[in-house]
C-alpha cells in the first residue's frame, strides 16, 4: 500500500471544481424537467413503435394478426427510456461511462424542484406523496366504477369486457400504489432524519425509483387505450397470453414498477445499514425504521422474481416463446408459482410499514414508552423471513402439490405469531396510558380494529378445508381490503396527519380531519364487511353478474363505497385547504414527540443536521423521570421556536 497521505477530505475532492449545476437542476425552461421527460417519452415511444413495425413486417404472421406486440413493447420500452433520458436519470451513468466526474448537487430553488430529478430525499418524499395520491385517486375512481356495475345483477353499466378491464386496472394500480405508499413518501423522507443521517446512500438511485414509479403508472394506464387487459392484477397465464395488446402494458408496467421497487428498497436498506448516526445502535433504531428495513429487504429480494416473470411474459407475447403455454412445453403453473413467490412477500411489503407507523405514533399519544420494542422488531424480521415460505397458499385449489398443503398451511398460520406481536406492542403500550385521541391516534386505533378482522379472516383462508369455500370469492377480496386498506391505508393516513406538519410546516385542519376519519372508518367497514358475507354466500371475484338474492348486500356495499369515496374527497379538500389555500403554520413539535426527526428545524435544511447527531437513547422515554436526551445535536442547532406541547390546530 502506498504511503501517500492526504487529509481526509470527505468525498469533496470528487467535486472540487465549482461547476455549473447539472441540467436537471438548472433554473428555467431550458433544462431537464418533467416537460423534457414527456417529450423524451413521446419520441421514444414513436421510435420504438416504428422499429417494432419495421421488424414485424418481416414476419407475416405478426403483420397479419392485427396485433403487433413487438411494436407495442418496443414503443413502451423506448418510451420509458426516453422518459428517463428526458428527466435526466441517465446523465450520471452516461457521464461515468465517459469518465467525467459527477456534477455538483445543488438543488434548484422554488416549486419547480418537484418536477425535476431531485437527489434530495425530502423532495423525493414529497414527490412520492403526490405520486401515490394520484395513483390512489385514479385507482379509487375505478373502484367506484366497479361498485356502480355491481349495483344490479341484470342491468349493466359497462360491457362485460370493459368491466373486467376496470377490475384489472383497479387491482394493478392499487397493488403497485400500495407497495410504495409508505416506503416512497414517508420512508424516503423520514428514514435519514430518524437515523440521524444527512443523506441517503444512493440519492440518484432514490430519484430513479420515483421517476420510474411515475413511468410505471403511465405504462399501466397505457393499457386502457390499448384496449385493457382481462386478467385481474394476478395476470394468470394462459389468459395472459390470449389477451390483447393491453397485456403488454401490464407486463412491462410490472417490470418498470418492479425496477422502481428494487431501487427504492436497495437504497433505503443500504442507508439504514450504513448511515445510522453515531450511537444509533440497532436497539435504538426507531420501530418505523425497523419496519422499513424489513420492507426494503423484501422489496429488494422478492421483486426480481416479479421482474423475471414479467420478462418471461413479455417474451411470450413478443418473440412467442412458450413459458406459460402448456401445449407448447411451458406451464401455466410456472406463472402462478413465480407470481406468488413475489406476490406473497408483496403482501407483507404492504403490511409491515403500517405496523411501523403504528409503533411510532402510539408512544407519542399514549405518553408511554413503546412496549416490547425488541419483540416488535423481531416480529417484523420474522414476518419478512417467513413470507418467502408461504406462497403456495394462493394455490390450494390449483392442483399443484397437494402433499405440500399441510406445510404451507402451517407456515401461513405461523406467520400470525409474529404478526400478533404488533398487537402485543400496541396493547402493551396503551396499558394504563393517558391517550390523546388526536387524528393520527384515531387512525392507529382504526388500524388495530380493521387489521384484526383482516388477520383473523386470513387464518380462515389459510385453513385448507375452509379455503375450498372461500378461495377466489368475495371473502378473499374483503380479507385483503381489510389488511391493505384497513391496515396500510389507515396507517398511511395516520402517518400523513402526523408527519405532514414536519414535511410541509403546515398543520392539517382538525375539523376536516375528524370528518375524514369518521367517514372513512365507518364507510370502510360498511363497504367491506358485507363482502365477507357476500363471499360466504358464494359470489366469486371479478364477476359482472351475481345471484339475485345478493343484490341487497351488494347495493349496501356499493352505496357505502360511494360514501367512502366522498370521504376521500374530504381528505383531498383538507389537503388542499390546509396546505395551499389557507395554511396554518405548524409548531415545531406539535405532538410533543421525542423522535429525532422532530428535533430538526422546519423546514428541514438540505443537509438535515448541521452537526451529525450523537444518539444517546431510543426515542421512547416518555413519562420517565430523569430520562436521557435522545441525541446530542451539537451546539449549532437550537430549536427554531419553543416546543408547544399539545397544540394541534
Amino acid at each position: 500500500m502506498s504511503t501517500v497521505q492526504e487529509p481526509p477530505g470527505g468525498l469533496a475532492s470528487d467535486h472540487v471544481d465549482p461547476i455549473r449545476p447539472p441540467l436537471t437542476q438548472r433554473p428555467g425552461l431550458f433544462s431537464q424537467h418533467l416537460g423534457t421527460a414527456i417529450i423524451g417519452a413521446v419520441l421514444g415511444y414513436a421510435l420504438g413503435h416504428w422499429m417494432g413495425n419495421a421488424i414485424a413486417s418481416h414476419y407475416p404472421y405478426i403483420a397479419n394478426s392485427g396485433q403487433n406486440a413487438i411494436a407495442d413493447a418496443l414503443g413502451l420500452i423506448l418510451g420509458v427510456a426516453g422518459w428517463l433520458l428526458g428527466i435526466g436519470a441517465l446523465n450520471y451513468p452516461l457521464a461515468k461511462l465517459a469518465g467525467r466526474q459527477p456534477e455538483a448537487e445543488v438543488e434548484v430553488e422554488g416549486w419547480s424542484k418537484y418536477f425535476r430529478y431531485s437527489t434530495n430525499h425530502k423532495t423525493v418524499g414529497l414527490q412520492y406523496v403526490v405520486g401515490v395520491l394520484l395513483f390512489m385517486f385514479t385507482g379509487g375512481l375505478l373502484a367506484m366504477a366497479i361498485r356502480t356495475e355491481l349495483l344490479s345483477p341484470t342491468t349493466h353499466v359497462f360491457s362485460p369486457d370493459t368491466y373486467i378491464k376496470i377490475v384489472s386496472e383497479h387491482g394493478t394500480v392499487m397493488m403497485m400504489m400500495a407497495t410504495s405508499i409508505v416506503v416512497g413518501p414517508l420512508g424516503n423522507y423520514l428514514v435519514p432524519l430518524m437515523i440521524g443521517s444527512r443523506r441517503m446512500a444512493f440519492p440518484r438511485i432514490e430519484a430513479f425509483s420515483f421517476w420510474v414509479f411515475v413511468a410505471g403508472y403511465m405504462v399501466i394506464f397505457s393499457a386502457l387505450p390499448y384496449g385493457g387487459f382481462p386478467t385481474g392484477w394476478t395476470g394468470y397465464a394462459p389468459l395472459q397470453t390470449q389477451a390483447g395488446p393491453g397485456m403488454v402494458s401490464y407486463l412491462f408496467g410490472f417490470a418498470v414498477i418492479g425496477m422502481g421497487m428494487m431501487a427504492a428498497g436497495f437504497n433505503i436498506a443500504v442507508t439504514i445499514i450504513n448511515y445510522r448516526a453515531p450511537g444509533m445502535t440497532w436497539s435504538r433504531v426507531p420501530i418505523f425504521v425497523w419496519s422499513i428495513l424489513a420492507t426494503a429487504a423484501l422489496l429488494t429480494l422478492a421483486t426480481p422474481t416479479l421482474f423475471a416473470a414479467g420478462v418471461f411474459g413479455l417474451l411470450d407475447r413478443t418473440v412467442q416463446t412458450a413459458f406459460y403455454v402448456t401445449e407448447h412445453g411451458g406451464s401455466s403453473y410456472l406463472w402462478e408459482n413465480l407470481f406468488w413467490f413475489f406476490g406473497h412477500p408483496e403482501v407483507y411489503i404492504m403490511a409491515l410499514p403500517g405496523f411501523g407507523i403504528a409503533g411510532e405514533i402510539l408512544p407519542v399519544f399514549t405518553r408511554k414508552p413503546l412496549f416490547a420494542y425488541k419483540v416488535g422488531a423481531a416480529g417484523m424480521i420474522g414476518v419478512s423471513l417467513l413470507s418467502f415460505f408461504v406462497w403456495q397458499h394462493h394455490l390450494f385449489q390449483s392442483g399443484i402439490n397437494p402433499d405440500m398443503r399441510p406445510l404451507f398451511m402451517l407456515t401461513t398460520e405461523l406467520i400470525s405469531i409474529p404478526t400478533g406481536f404488533i398487537y402485543l406492542v400496541g396493547m402493551g403500550t396503551m396499558y394504563k396510558a393517558k391517550i390523546r385521541f388526536d387524528i393520527p391516534m384515531l387512525f392507529v386505533m382504526a388500524l388495530y380494529f380493521n387489521f384484526l378482522i383482516g388477520g383473523v379472516t386470513g387464518v380462515f383462508l389459510s385453513d385448507v378445508p375452509v379455503n375450498v369455500t372461500v378461495h377466489g370469492g368475495f371473502f378473499v377480496l374483503a380479507h385483503f381490503h381489510y389488511t391493505i386498506m384497513g391496515g396500510l391505508l389507515f396507517a398511511f393516513m395516520a402517518g400523513l396527519y402526523y408527519w405532514l406538519p414536519k414535511m410541509t410546516g403546515r398543520m392539517m385542519n382538525k375539523r376536516l380531519g375528524l370528518w375524514h376519519f369518521w367517514t372513512m372508518f365507518i364507510f370502510f367497514n360498511l363497504t367491506f364487511f358485507p363482502m365477507f358475507i357476500i363471499g360466504l354466500l358464494g359470489q366469486p371475484r371479478r364477476v359482472f353478474t351475481y345471484a339475485k338474492n345478493l343484490q341487497g348486500l351488494n347495493d349496501f356495499s356499493s352505496v357505502s363505497a360511494f360514501l367512502l369515496g366522498l370521504s376521500f374527497l374530504i381528505f383531498f379538500a383538507n389537503l388542499v385547504w390546509s396546505l395551499y389555500i389557507k395554511p396554518v403554520k405548524a409548531p415545531a413539535n406539535p405532538w410533543d414527540s421525542l423522535g429525532l426527526e422532530w428535533q430538526t428545524v422546519t423546514p428541514v435544511p438540505a443537509h438535515n443536521f448541521d452537526r451529525i447527531p450523537v444518539v444517546l437513547s431510543d426515542p421512547y422515554h416518555y413519562s420517565e423521570e430523569n430520562a436521557p436526551a435522545v441525541a446530542d445535536l451539537g451546539p449549532a442547532s437550537p430549536p427554531e421556536e419553543p416546543t408547544l406541547s399539545g397544540v394541534t390546530a
Binding site: 500500500m1 502506498s2 501517500v4 497521505q5 492526504e6 487529509p7 481526509p8 477530505g9 470527505g10 468525498l11 469533496a12 475532492s13 470528487d14 467535486h15 465549482p18 451513468p93 461511462l97 469518465g99 466526474q101 448537487e105 445543488v106 443521517s197 444527512r198 446512500a201 444512493f202 428494487m262 436497495f266 443500504v270 445499514i273 450504513n274 448511515y275 453515531p278 429488494t300 426480481p304 422474481t305 421482474f307 423475471a308 416473470a309 420478462v311 418471461f312 417474451l315 411470450d316 418473440v319 412467442q320 416463446t321 412458450a322 413459458f323 402448456t326 401445449e327 407448447h328 412445453g329 411451458g330 406451464s331 403453473y333 410456472l334 413465480l338 435544511p605 438540505a606 448541521d610 451529525i612
Partner: protein, 215 residues
C-alpha cells in the same frame, strides 16, 4: 474544516471521516445486496428451467434434445468467465500495489465482456429452433435475455471503474489511487464491489452454461 461546495454545510474532520466510512460501507453492502438481488433474478430463471423440465408438458420440454449452438455457448461462457477472472486477478494485483496491472486486466476484461455480449446477441438472432417450439427453447431465450442484461451491467461497471481510474490517475498519479484519500478509497471500494459482481457473473454464467448446453 473542509468546505464542500455542493452541500451547503461544513463537516468537522470527525464527521467527514464518519461520512467516508458510511460511503465505503454503502458500496460494500450495496454490492453484496445487488448480488443477492441478482441471485433471485437468476434463480427465477433456474426455477423456470427445472420446473418446465420436470413437468415436460406435452412431451415438449426438449424434443430431440435440441440444443442451442454449443460453440457460441462456449465462447460466451469463456469470455464471461475471462472477464470475471480478469477482475479478480486485477484486483489482486491492485492490492499488490500495481495500478497498471489492474488497468490492463480491466481493459482485457472489458474486451472479453464485449465479445461475450456481441456473440450472445448474435447467437439469439441465429437460433436453429423456434422460440415457442419447446420449453427448452423458451427458457433458452429467457437465458439469452438475462445473459445480455448481466453482461451489460458487468461491462458498464468495468468501464466506469476503468474510466474513473484513468481520470484519477491523471489527477492524483498512480500512487494516489492506492492512497488513503477519500476518492481513492471510494474508487477501491467500487473496484472491490465490481470484482465481486464480475465474479458472480462468471460463476452464474458457467452454471447456466452447464444447464443450457451440457445437460
Amino acid at each position: 474544516m473542509t468546505k464542500t461546495l455542493n452541500q451547503g454545510y461544513e463537516s468537522t474532520p470527525e464527521e467527514a471521516e464518519f461520512e467516508l466510512r458510511a460511503h465505503i460501507g454503502s458500496i460494500w453492502s450495496g454490492g453484496r445486496l445487488f448480488i443477492g438481488m441478482y441471485t433471485f433474478l437468476i434463480a427465477s430463471l433456474v426455477f423456470a428451467y427445472f420446473y418446465l423440465r420436470s413437468a415436460n408438458n406435452g412431451l415438449l420440454w426438449r424434443p430431440h434434445h435440441v440444443t442451442a449452438p454449443t460453440h457460441y455457448g462456449w465462447v460466451v461462457m469463456l469470455a464471461t468467465v475471462a472477464t470475471g477472472l480478469m477482475a479478480v486477478v486485477g484486483r489482486r494485483r491492485l492490492r499488490g500495489g500495481s495500478v497498471l496491472d489492474w488497468q490492463v486486466a480491466g481493459w482485457t476484461g472489458l474486451i472479453t465482456g464485449v465479445i461475450a455480449l456481441i456473440v450472445q446477441i448474435w447467437e439469439l438472432s441465429s437460433l436453429p429452433f423456434y422460440p415457442g417450439s419447446s420449453g427448452y427453447a423458451s427458457t433458452f431465450i429467457g437465458f439469452g435475455v438475462f445473459n445480455i442484461m448481466t453482461l451489460v451491467v458487468v461491462i458498464f461497471w468495468v468501464e466506469t471503474t476503468l474510466a474513473r481510474s484513468l481520470r484519477l490517475r491523471r489527477e492524483l498519479g498512480a500512487p494516489g489511487l492506492l492512497s488513503t484519500s477519500a476518492v481513492a478509497q471510494s474508487w477501491r471500494a467500487n473496484v472491490a464491489a465490481m470484482t465481486y459482481f464480475a465474479g458472480f457473473a462468471a460463476v452464474s454464467g458457467a452454471f447456466l452454461f452447464l444447464m443450457f448446453y451440457q445437460m
